[in-house]
């Protein structure tokens, strides 16, 4: 029976709380960017993830993701249904229940990331159906492949805290769903400016704060790797912000607050898979490159005509992709003995190839299954997955939830 380390346990418990806080942070980040008539619907889609995913997780989710750990397979098993037999369990040096809670927070925020893409037009009931199906059919298998010792982990792909499992996964699902949903009325001709950038910046601050738990907590220990991941997270967010602002200033003439927020998030996304595997100035390069590239990636939606409302594809899919590939360049086994050296550290291209395979597998799987879930819901739900034109004009807050975000007027 392995020993429980109290320091490790304390850090993972605190990290779980930090990561959970990211979901309301994400809700504010997105909520500020939509028009005021849709702010509550956006917050609700995110908050609801904390409800449904949590219940699924304790019922069977954890078991399907982390049952039969290290089987090099496609999915876990039903050994831990209802958290059966985990009460006094130990995983590495922490109580298994701490690990269950920590991993749960990842399962919550991943589908929440998708909400930014579908903003302003998805029916509430359709979102409920989608998140329920997606978190089971897409998240659980992919989490098993990478975090649960499944086939991708077994091949040697590295993902410290979820570049593939969280960001590529959610980004690919977002792309599938916006293609299925179609553009918002009036996009891209009508302006749909953010209703409250202060909310977006507050959300960004909460995300940055919570991300320390996301990445440094993924060490599952209070040790040197955790400290390295912590610092890398800090630096990559800063570099992401600077990278985005430089390119934005050059391309469109202004350094904007929304740009600062988006760049920091892009940097955080990219460092996620790398956090505990790279050192030195690698996070500076990773952040700068991702910040700049993600800004440019926003143009893709105008070029190809898909309405990714809040740029989940440009920030999370592209950022997650870049980060996951850069593991293959910058990974350093002096930082973490679990890492193999990447291309730039003389490890050859072996790791990079595995990273490409992992990214491609997750991207294709998530895109295809997400699209099929969407298609099925479209066929099954009497009113489809999209609100009517009139409901879209009125706004989702009133039509989906019978509430108004701001009632400051007395008339």
């Amino acid at each position: 029976m392995p020993e429980i380390d109290t320091g490790d346990t304390a850090w993972v418990l605190i990290s779980s709380a930090l990561v959970l806080f990211m979901t309301p942070g994400l809700a504010l980040f997105y909520g500020g960017m939509v028009r005021s008539k849709n702010v509550l619907a956006m917050l609700m889609q995110n908050f609801f993830a904390m409800g449904i995913v949590t219940i699924f997780w304790v019922l069977f989710g954890y078991s399907l993701a982390f049952g039969d750990l290290g089987n090099a397979g496609w999915i876990g098993n039903f050994d831990f249904v209802g958290l059966k037999g985990l009460t006094n369990g130990v995983t590495d040096t922490i109580p298994t229940l701490a690990f269950v809670a920590f991993q749960l927070t990842f399962a919550v925020i991943t589908p929440a990331l998708i909400t930014g893409a579908i903003a302003d037009r998805m029916r509430w009931v359709a979102w409920v159906g989608f998140i329920a199906a997606w978190s089971v059919l897409v998240y659980l298998p992919v989490a098993h492949w990478v975090f649960g010792g499944g086939w991708l982990a077994d091949r040697g792909a590295l993902d410290f805290a979820g570049g593939t499992v969280v960001h590529v996964n959610a980004g690919a699902a977002a792309l599938a769903l916006v293609i299925l949903l179609g553009k918002r009325k009036g996009w891209p001709k009508e302006p749909m400016p953010p209703h409250s950038l202060p909310l977006t910046l507050l959300g960004t601050g909460i995300l940055w704060f919570g991300w320390f738990g996301f990445n440094a907590g993924s060490a599952l220990s209070a040790n040197g790797v955790a400290a390295q991941a912590f610092l890398n997270t800090f630096v990559a967010a800063a570099a992401g912000m600077i990278g985005w602002l430089i390119v934005e200033r050059m391309k469109s003439g202004h350094a904007t607050t929304l740009g600062a927020a988006s760049g920091a998030v892009a940097g955080l996304v990219a460092i996620t898979p790398c956090a505990g595997f790279v050192g030195g100035l690698a996070p500076v390069v990773i952040g700068l490159v991702t910040g700049g590239v993600c800004f440019l990636a926003i143009q893709l939606k105008f070029k190809f005509g898909y309405d990714d409302s809040l740029d989940v594809v440009a920030v999370h899919l592209v950022g997650g992709l870049l980060g996951s590939l850069m593991v293959g360049l910058f990974a350093d086994d002096a930082v973490n003995e679990a890492a193999t050296d990447g291309l730039f550290l003389g490890g050859g291209s072996e790791l990079l190839v595995e990273q490409v395979i992992a990214v491609a597998a997750v991207l294709v799987f998530s895109f295809v299954v997400s699209y099929l879930i969407g298609l099925l819901l479209k066929a099954l739900l009497p009113k489809g997955i999209r609100v009517s034109d009139g409901e879209e004009d009125t706004g989702l807050d009133l039509t989906q939830h019978s509430e108004t975000g701001y009632s400051l007027e007395r008339v």
């Binding site: 891209p188 302006p191 400016p193 953010p194 934005e248 391309k251 469109s252 003439g253 202004h254 904007t256 929304l258 740009g259 988006s262 800004f295 926003i298 143009q299 105008f302 740029d311």
Partner: protein, 112 residues
């Protein structure tokens, strides 16, 4: 009796108000409005996408005055609302058939 209606730049309100009170104006009503004139709108940029905002925020002032005061009040208002830049707004004066003070029922000039 006349009603002076003025559309002005929001940040000029304090100065206009102080000047009008200084010349004895008894009351005024302000509304936040949006619109455009020859200034047209402005451009905002979000994540590299430029949006043309057609309706610019302005304030609409309404002041009831006696006919004999109308020109003087209008001139004073314009002098203090003016920046010399495009977008300073408009002012117009319309005749008023009747004015009452709701509390007392006073009518006409007494109600101003």
């Amino acid at each position: 009796m006349k009603l002076i209606v003025a559309i002005i730049k929001p940040f000029r309100l304090d100065e206009v108000k102080t000047a009008l009170i200084g010349m004895g104006v008894q009351g005024l009503t302000v509304t936040e409005v949006r619109g455009f004139g020859r200034q047209r709108g402005h451009t905002e940029v979000y994540r590299g996408a430029e949006y043309k905002i057609d309706f610019v925020p302005k304030l609409r002032l309404e002041i009831l005055v006696d006919e004999s005061d109308a020109q003087r009040v209008a001139q004073e208002l314009m002098e203090h609302a003016r920046t010399g830049q495009i977008g300073d707004g408009k002012l117009w004066i319309v005749p008023v058939d009747a004015v009452y003070r709701i509390r007392t029922g006073e009518a006409g000039t007494d109600a101003i």
